[in-house]
């Protein structure tokens, strides 16, 4: 069956440092979505990428969809304590969520 893996599983950064999480699917995706889940909270939609090679930016967050539409990345520039949480990727049909990357930001 389809698998969606993310690396790293955990990341601890000093506030102000950059952060990147990578998402890899075993199958080609029609689109990919990213969600953020704060500790004790529920997943919240961040963005959807559709086109091969697509890059989208949201303030300090940059999202990229791979050329083969099997991988994606989320990069945060100059992390802040508000970025703390777990970041999940998921394919279009949302049947498979990635394993998640838990980000801790040390003030």
């Amino acid at each position: 069956g389809q698998q969606v893996m993310q690396i790293p599983q955990y990341q601890h950064v000093q506030e102000g440092e950059d952060f990147t999480t990578y998402c890899n699917s075993s199958t080609t995706l029609s689109n990919i979505q990213w969600y953020k889940q704060r500790p004790g909270g529920h997943p919240v939609f961040l963005i959807q990428l559709v086109k091969s090679g697509e890059v989208k930016k949201q303030k300090r967050l940059t999202f990229q969809f791979g050329e083969a539409k099997k991988n994606s990345s989320l990069h945060i520039t100059a992390t802040q304590t508000t970025d703390v949480g777990t970041y999940f990727c998921t394919g279009a049909n949302n049947l498979f969520f990635g394993t998640g990357t838990r980000l801790t930001v040390i003030p």
Partner: protein
């Protein structure tokens, strides 16, 4: 802003008991989902529902589970004869379109099976 609401926020039950978790999706949404998240782990898909029918279900969603839309607003997940390993956070989600667009999650129902 419209939101998905779930009740109860926390349910404690004895092993073997039946539990019903309730969700009110956003009113103009057509696609409904239940997910499970065991503490500290990833979000796992259980079932999707459209037009009063199950669209997809995972291997987790066995005969122990059922879903229902009893009226125009509620969407329920029933777990029969709960087991210890059913302890988890259960999230309901909804969206307007199929396979695209934002999935709106409720705040979740934490189920503890003793």
């Amino acid at each position: 802003e419209p939101e998905v609401t779930q009740t109860p926020s926390h349910q404690v039950t004895q092993m073997g008991q039946e539990v019903i978790l309730r969700c009110v999706p956003i009113s103009n949404h057509l696609y409904f989902y239940w997910y499970r998240q065991i503490l500290g782990q990833k979000v796992e898909f259980l079932v999707s529902f459209y037009n009063n029918e199950i669209s997809e279900k995972s291997e987790i969603f066995d005969d122990q589970f059922s879903v229902e839309r009893p009226d125009g607003s509620n969407f329920t997940l029933k777990i029969r004869s709960t087991k210890l390993e059913d302890s988890a956070m259960y999230f309901c989600a909804s969206r307007r379109l199929q396979n695209t667009g934002e999935l709106f999650f409720g705040e979740g129902s934490r189920l503890t099976v003793l």
